[in-house]
Assembly symmetry: C2
Homo-oligomer: 342 residues x 2
């Protein structure tokens, strides 16, 4: 792996074509990041004309914004492996190659999750010793945030994978999010040690004996929103179920509450009065406030934002890349993984 060493500048490739709001919101988010921090340079990857249109009217330091042409776009519905192989000139492939070639430190995309994950593994490549790179979204909790690791990159994982997830997640939460000695729980269906499926039962003692992490035992999904653990280690299938249910319930409940409090004139007046304070609360529970989900364990950083990401989530994701580089997260991961192999 080569790494770009140009002082403290952080070079971030941004998939200008990915997601529901591309290219305008993506480009706007990237420019906001450039205007927000002096040590960021963005490489906007996508169709030249579309990117130029999105840039029109925005003001920014031109030396820190570069357009990298890519003529193709991978659609969400395309089978990921095939798409990565065939669409060599897609924004996802071209953007991830910038990371592989050491031109960029990180790649941010709101595009096809599958293609971003597959590209991460096969284009950017894994850190030596990392068996599977996990996708690790942060979810808002009553106490702050928790990292759900893994949420979609590797179904049917093995115990050794989950141990690596715990190590990488701990490094991320400590140095990117700033939680000292973060608590690691394993997602389980009961609090007792003998509960769980085969994978959990085999992984539990390995986590107990892992010296690098602060393992607190089983965590039930019910206790995640309350902030029971800083890092919740899980196999990708159940992690994805937990994440999607979290998002789904939130959306429906907020919707029903809004409907429920505007059925009568009395409650309509009440609703108008609580509007501002309610908004603040709900905002705290909106994932976009926290940037996208990192794909950890790669030779560089890949961040997947929500498909419906707006400028703010893109900006925050780019800021995440800065902290990631400044805190030398990958160097720390390499060290922990190497130690674990000895």
């Amino acid at each position: 792996m080569q790494e770009k060493e140009n002082g403290s500048m952080v070079n971030v490739a941004v998939d200008a074509m990915g997601g529901d709001n591309a290219p305008s919101e993506i480009v706007k988010g990237a420019i906001d990041a450039v205007n927000g921090k002096e040590n960021i340079k963005v490489f906007l990857v996508g169709r030249q004309e579309a990117v130029e249109d999105a840039l029109a009217g925005l003001s920014y330091d031109k030396s820190r914004v570069e357009i990298v042409p890519a003529t193709e776009v991978i659609e969400t519905a395309e089978p990921p492996v095939m798409a990565i192989r065939k669409k060599k000139d897609s924004s996802i492939v071209v953007g991830q190659k910038l990371v592989k070639d050491g031109i960029c430190d990180a790649f941010v995309s709101a595009g096809s999750s599958g293609a971003v994950l597959v590209g991460g593994q096969f284009i950017v490549g894994r850190i030596k010793g990392v068996e599977r790179p996990p996708l690790a979204p942060l979810i808002p909790t009553a106490k702050g945030n928790s990292l759900l690791i893994d949420c979609g990159a590797n179904v049917d994982a093995r115990p050794s994978h989950l141990v690596q997830f715990a190590k990488m997640g701990s490094i991320y939460m400590e140095y990117v999010i700033g939680i000292r000695n973060p608590k690691v729980g394993i997602l389980n269906i009961g609090a007792e040690e003998d509960k769980g499926n085969m994978l959990v039962k085999e992984t539990f003692p390995l986590l107990q004996n892992c010296p690098d992490i602060h393992f607190i035992g089983s965590v039930e999904a019910r206790d995640i929103p309350g902030g029971a653990a800083d890092i919740v280690v899980c196999e990708a299938f159940s992690g994805n179920v937990a994440l999607k249910m979290y998002e789904g319930v939130g959306a429906v409940l907020i919707d029903e509450v809004k409907k429920g409090i505007t059925v009568s004139l009395k409650s309509k007046i009440g609703a108008a009065l609580i509007k501002n304070d309610l908004k603040k609360t709900l905002k705290r529970f909106t994932a976009s406030e926290y940037g996208g989900a990192p794909l950890l364990g790669l030779n560089g950083l890949v961040v997947k934002t929500h498909g419906n990401a707006k400028a703010k989530e893109v900006t925050n994701s780019i800021y995440q890349c800065v902290t990631f580089k400044e805190q030398k997260i990958n160097e720390k991961i390499k060290e922990k993984i190497r130690l674990g192999d000895e």
Copy 2:
């Protein structure tokens, strides 16, 4: 299996000692059921004195309430298999034996989930041909309710188990809940057919080719609260994660909303005005309104209510038992399972 045939009377054994609010709320719920429907007889299983104390002051038809003494109580923390074996005179063992012996049609408990499930399998016993009895809670959705099947009885399930869950769940939703031709989805991490773990990929074509059900394909956890399917088939581990996350997010979000709308004087006034309408909305999303979760595929019915169940949930669970018997659910399950084996 023997079945008590005393006309249309439904005999329900109730674990008077199980759950956080036992015995008072449990006994109250049972008596409310007896007072609510003329064809219910309850057998209150537990410590005689405690049950008598709980009954004191309640008025009811004494010919339809019987106390069945059981001196022991299984605690939630006890390992279930051991507890069922050792505590022969516990309310869970004695109550389930009443079903096994054909004295009662059903058993309702708010006690240890593990012990209720283990007892269901080993005391009440499975219907011939049923490979695994699933625990199938109903969860409130934007459109009504969905049955999550299985949520805790059998981790590491096989594809054939999931097919039986789909059949039993369809019968339950059609005849107990009253949804014609209910839609069956399989819990998955993407909508496309090629998504998922090994279990889902193997089960998907079996469900597609199953003539007895209305299969609609994959359902993401995100879409469950919106009511995407009437029956969501899943392996117990991920089902339990989905269920617990559903409950956990709901609780935290409601709590945060309540806190969030009482931070300023303005919003406090607003909160007072919306209180009644908000309550109605939140009530619809409260699981206790719908009774407990049935354990399907047994020689009789076992219903597990929430550990914190109050009288209303107990009453509704007993009503569920009535519908279950009146609609001859087990006869229908036997027929479908038998047909599937040919």
